[in-house]
Amino acid sequence: MVNPISYTPGQDPMQPRPFRVVRAIRETADVVTLELEAQSGPPLAFQPGQFTMLYVFGVGEVPISISGDPHKPARLVQTIRRVGLVTEALCKLGRGDVVGVRGPFGSHWPLEQARGGDVVIVAGGIGLPPLRPAIYHILHQRQDYGRVYLLYGARTPADLLFPEELKRWQHTLAHAPGASPVRVTVDRAEGGWDGAVGVVTSLIPVLPIDPLRTTALMVGPEVMMRFTISELRKRGIPEENLYLSMERNMKCAVGFCGHCQYGPHFICKDGPVLAFPRVRDWITRKEV
């Protein structure tokens, strides 16, 4: 993996670099993946789990995780759900449009530590894109990892992201034939769905893993992560092996603006990926 470029002093970390949209892929009704290339300068190397700040000219800037392959940094890939004004503007971009990019920022998934053991990846909704680079990396070095599972929950079948890849991963991630590493569930079955219905945490109790040698990575709404953690703890996975990616309001991503504080952590630099013990005392509290 390429090391992240560090910020060169003298340059303002608040100033974006222009990137051109080379492809815009409509994933679902409200999710778009943008493939971006730097207009000048080096491509943006990153580690799985990191994010960038994407700036739409004059509209605003928001944190978005990188969803592409860390081994192919020439193209910066980011997947965005339209929820408000900036994300809406991002989702409207097409080939040739220019966005500003700052980053990559933040901590990354513990893929080094996870080597040699099992990996459980739990994603809820738009939580899958930040985990995809980790999957790519594992696929790249599949032999380094034991059993790998992706548990993914979406609202409806139509909201499932990357369906083709999910199918592919079913084979490529498998440690043994017929292992069924990708397990998907939806809140509401629609349109002839014959898969699982229910919350993603319901998939955890039956996973064949070696708990003490398992690392879990999760991204989703805070409640979902709380329940996931409790289920994983029930399976006996040590808490220091549980990793989650947190979200807070972010104005700068470099630790200056103060907005992303979460207890003692700055989500932008200490996170977004944090080991569970670091948030244990905070995650059950309201309004932190």
Binding site: G58, V59, G60, G84, L85
Partner: protein, 259 residues
């Protein structure tokens, strides 16, 4: 702005008000022609006799609803407006004329008019949002012209206007003004009032009088407790909350406590 595209149309409407908020647009001397270049002023009676029929992309509505006729008129305006922004304390809170809401309108009419039987008006002065859906409310008595331009350019660029809803105190401090309440014991509404004016009152050595209405999280009870320590009597406290935003809920509720 690409000139080939059809320019968005702008309409300005007036209800019960002093005209000041509309004038704020004409007071944007440096930007007025730029505004006129970016939008097509399709209906702005105070400024132009050329009136084009709707629908309009952006309607700015000044003034409060005080007559049955106006209550109907605003419905029609809403129907012909894609985006409707209310401007000023009258339109967003009922304005100073909402003081009638706490009194007997008939008595008011008798005081002002020699032949009160000719005057027919609604009992209450109400904000536009009580009648129709409003897309954005711009506060102030009058509105701040910088904020007005911000709302118009945000609309043109389809972004959220940067209009903070926090207290005046943040602006006051950014400006470097010395707090008049702390340093002089002058009662100030700044802590419970929404920013936007630039904290001018404290900068001119007086307490804020609340013309931008309540901030997002106003603790009027705690403020008035402090005012009591500063020696402000109940009647004066009630009057302080009954001015240009008397109809705004947080202020009208607080005023009632001092009745």
């Amino acid at each position: 702005m690409p000139s080939k595209q059809r320019k968005p149309t702008l309409a300005v409407w007036k209800f019960a008000s002093c005209d000041g908020c509309q004038l704020s647009l004409l007071d944007c001397e440096d930007e007025l022609l730029q505004v006129a270049g970016a939008v097509q002023i399709a209906n702005f009676l105070e400024a132009s006799s050329a009136v084009q029929p709707g629908p309009y992309d952006l309607s700015l509505v000044e003034g409060s609803i005080t007559t049955p006729h106006d209550a109907e008129r605003i419905q029609a305006i809403r129907k012909s407006s894609r985006f409707l922004v209310t401007i000023g304390a009258c339109a967003t809170a009922g304005g100073i004329q909402a003081l009638r809401n706490f009194a007997d309108v008939e008595e008011f009419t008798r005081i002002v008019y020699a032949k009160p039987e000719y005057i027919k008006t609604l009992k209450h002065s109400t904000p536009i949002s009580e009648h129709v859906k409003v897309d954005f409310e711009l506060r102030g008595c009058p509105i701040n012209k910088g904020q007005l331009l911000e709302v118009i350019s945000a609309f043109l660029h389809k972004r959220r206007p940067n209009i903070p809803q926090h207290s005046v105190c943040l602006e006051c401090k950014a400006r470097g003004t010395v707090c008049v309440m702390v340093a002089q014991g002058t009662p100030c509404l700044g802590p419970v009032t929404q920013a936007g004016c630039g904290a001018i009152c404290p900068a001119y050595q007086r307490g804020c009088y609340g013309c931008f209405g309540p901030q997002e999280n106003p603790n009027t009870v705690a403020l008035s407790a402090w005012w009591t320590l500063l020696g402000l009597d109940e009647a004066a406290q009630q009057r302080a909350f009954r001015t240009y935003n008397a109809g705004a809920k947080a202020f009208s509720k607080e005023a009632e406590r001092h009745g």
